[in-house]
């Protein structure tokens, strides 16, 4: 089977759309230029444009309330397909943006065939101006421009006579495809920890090669001026005329290896979660789904699925940490996993053995690559339980001389019932407060112009206990695994967690091998080794995939030996 790696790079300015404000000179009363930001889907409405409304059954009659149709001009082109007074669309931004051009999406049935795009800086100086002649309803108007603050688009012609301009979408960039000779190497690493002790970040590393001058890192007009962290990378495996999704990643770093080649790294959505802070809090019987959704919301993660934990609750404390760390804590106590491989969504579920696990075929395994090792021997597990009790007395939890302004204060320990002097609290949680300091200095401050700000509140006592379980056997050397810093472990869930951790390690093997990847993915329940009497049954925990070398995957499986019935 012939396979090929394809990587799509979404060379888009990812903040331009939300920062944009669109206005038009010539617009229908039912149309709003700013609605183009919402990427409306086109409905093929019947209009009385000249010979447009074909009697082929494909046109929908307009409702009284037409909804979002993007930007429709009020005037039409003439018989010569040109506007007498060309409509203009002005896009203003509050911040500078850089992009490799604009992808314009017009009506599929009537599109613009000549337009001019002018870019301006914050001082209204013209940075670039180009005329384009689209030959399709979706057209990339390439023009690499850095640090623009305003765009004016002028529309001159349509593909048919006497047509309105109908614009549905503007993307601030385009998609660049790396494949074949443009892709020197590509490596994809997917990991999943069945225990939930670690929440792994999948990575995509590839080296691109391009002779086109616009890919030259030294070219100030090159595409790299528009590179931005978190731009989207999509990896695919092309095989037998099918395109398999190998995951969605976000641009993390790029480095030129030469004038023509570039080393690029992408991380998955869990990696993005590691860059965003979660405020944490004290939880008591909180729905696990609600808590996870609040973590996702903080990280702007909208693509996810949550299964197997809908009725579970969380009790305990999460300090200020990254969204990834917060999710890991929650999943660990639930015994669930999160995986972002082979899709753009984070999937949360509990690993479970299936009735008929897939067997890694001997023909898939590369010769002399199979290595089986016994996992770390753990003879017992000791977990620290936490119980948070609100103290009765108020105490000072923050005191500082501050100049006028807004501050975010992080507490060294959780606190509630906050009160403030010298300022006002505009937002607060168990671990933090956002405070506003105004006015002149207070007499108590030792610094001129500053105010002494004091926050008081009730802090929590962390009452801890330790629960230890062992495998019940005698060993020459005991190896007790200690878990002390998981503040969501409490008296109720401690025993189940300790038992699950001990079971995970007991009789486990790590089976490493290189395989020709079929459709295996991390989290799959597989049979790795099979003899007449027993087999290794477990889960794929790591795949290190060489995408340009025939999709050979260095594979790690965490498995237990089981006897074969009969």
């Amino acid at each position: 089977m012939k396979t090929k790696a394809i990587i799509e790079y979404g060379a888009m300015d990812i903040t331009a759309k939300t920062d944009s404000q669109l206005t038009a000179t010539d617009i229908q009363s039912f149309s709003t230029a700013n609605n183009v930001k919402l990427d409306p889907t086109e409905t093929k409405y019947a209009t009385l444009e000249h010979n447009y409304f074909a009697l082929d059954g494909s046109f929908t009659n307009m409702p009284a309330n037409i909804g979002n149709v993007g930007y429709w001009s009020a005037t039409k082109t003439g018989a010569n397909k040109e506007f007498t007074t060309p409509p203009t669309l002005t896009i203003n931004f509050t911040k500078n943006h850089s992009s490799v051009g604009l992808t314009m999406t017009f009506s599929q049935y009537s599109y613009c065939t000549e337009l001019k795009i002018a870019y301006y800086d914050s001082s209204n100086n013209l940075l670039s101006e180009k005329t384009f002649t689209p030959d399709n309803y979706e057209y990339f108007c390439e023009d690499i421009v850095a640090n623009y603050r305003k765009i004016i688009i002028t529309f001159y012609k349509t593909n048919e006579a006497r047509r309105y301009l109908k614009l549905y979408r503007i993307q601030y960039g385009t998609t660049i495809v790396f494949e074949g000779d443009n892709l020197i190497s590509a490596n994809l690493v997917e990991e999943l920890d069945p225990l939930g002790d670690e929440l792994s970040i999948n990575t995509l590393d590839f080296v691109s090669f391009a002779t086109d001058e616009k890919f030259n890192i030294l070219n100030p007009q090159g595409i790299f001026v528009a590179f931005q962290k978190t731009q989207i990378l999509k990896a695919y495996k092309a095989a037998n005329d099918a395109l398999l999704d190998m995951g969605t990643f976000y641009l993390e770093s790029w480095e030129n290896k030469s004038k023509k080649s570039m080393e690029i790294r992408g991380i998955d959505a869990i990696g993005i979660m590691d860059k965003i802070e979660f405020n944490g809090g004290i939880y008591s019987g909180t729905s696990a789904v609600t808590l996870i959704e609040s973590i996702f919301a903080k990280a702007n993660i909208v693509a996810y699925t949550i299964e197997d934990i809908t009725s579970e609750t969380i009790t305990g404390y999460i300090p200020i940490c990254t969204c990834r760390e917060a999710l890991q804590q929650v999943l660990f106590v639930l015994g669930a996993v999160a995986d972002c491989s082979r899709s753009d969504a984070i999937k949360i579920y509990k690993l479970a053995e299936t009735e008929e696990p897939n067997e890694i075929q001997a023909s898939q395994i590369l010769q002399n690559t199979n290595e089986i090792k016994q996992a770390e021997i753990v003879t017992g597990v000791s977990v620290t339980t936490h119980s948070y009790k609100l103290k009765r007395e108020q105490e000072t939890i923050y005191e500082e001389d501050l100049a006028a302004g807004t501050y975010r204060v992080k507490f060294s320990q959780p606190a509630s019932n906050l009160a403030i002097t010298g300022g006002s609290i505009t937002e607060s949680g168990t671990n933090y407060a956002v405070i506003n300091v105004t006015g002149s200095s207070s007499s108590s401050s030792k610094y001129y112009g500053n105010k002494t700000v004091t926050i008081t509140g009730n802090t929590y006592d962390d009452l801890t206990n330790t629960l230890t379980i062992t495998d019940g056997e005698s060993h020459d050397i005991e190896n007790i695994l200690t878990i002390s810093d998981c503040t969501l472990i409490n008296g109720t869930n401690a025993n189940a967690i300790a038992t699950r951790v001990l079971n995970h390690y007991q009789g486990s093997y790590r089976d490493n091998m290189s395989i020709i990847l079929d459709d295996e993915k991390v989290g799959d329940n597989v049979i790795a080794e099979k003899s007449e009497t027993n087999q290794l049954n477990g889960f794929i925990t790591k795949l290190d995939i060489d995408m340009t070398g025939g999709f050979i995957a260095t594979t790690e499986i965490m498995a237990k030996v089981e006897e074969i019935d009969g």
Binding site: Y45, L48, L55, N61, M62, A64
Partner: protein
């Protein structure tokens, strides 16, 4: 009034789609002129029928332009007008149940009904005159 059109074909539709910028209005597509023609015929027939005691009360719009956007409600009014004329008098062609996603066959049916009503009405009027010649045989 322009003649009613009820002989559109699939070829007309294909031609219209491929020659949208043609200076002429093409049979295979609806233009504002088509709506005006249908509405004018509805208006005319309603007046005629009412004159001969086939009372029809309908509302019409006969000033459509290329700048108008016909809504579903307006196109349904046109369809209902044709049905009202047919109910008040007589035609054999079935009325389309909707003009949404209209095909050339439905467009033909709509105008064929108007044609049939007019034909039947003219035949009736001709019969009136013929039967009115009460003294014809007395020459």
């Amino acid at each position: 009034m322009d003649d009613l059109i009820y002989d559109r074909t699939a070829e007309d539709v294909t031609y219209a789609k491929e020659h949208q910028s043609s200076a002429s209005t093409l049979k295979g597509a609806y233009n504002y002129t088509d709506l005006n023609r249908i509405e004018q015929w509805c208006d005319y027939l309603a007046t005629q029928l009412t004159t001969y005691s086939y009372i029809v009360a309908i509302t019409t719009k006969t000033d459509w332009t290329a700048d108008d956007f016909p809504t579903q409600a307006q196109l349904e009014r046109i369809r209902s007008n044709v049905q009202a004329l047919k109910t008040a008098y007589y035609a054999t062609t079935n009325t389309p149940t909707t003009l949404d996603r209209i095909t050339y066959q439905k467009a033909n049916d709509l105008e064929k009904i108007l044609y049939e009503i007019n034909e039947n009405l003219e035949n009736m009027l001709a019969a009136f005159i013929y039967s009115g010649e009460v003294y014809a045989g007395e020459v």
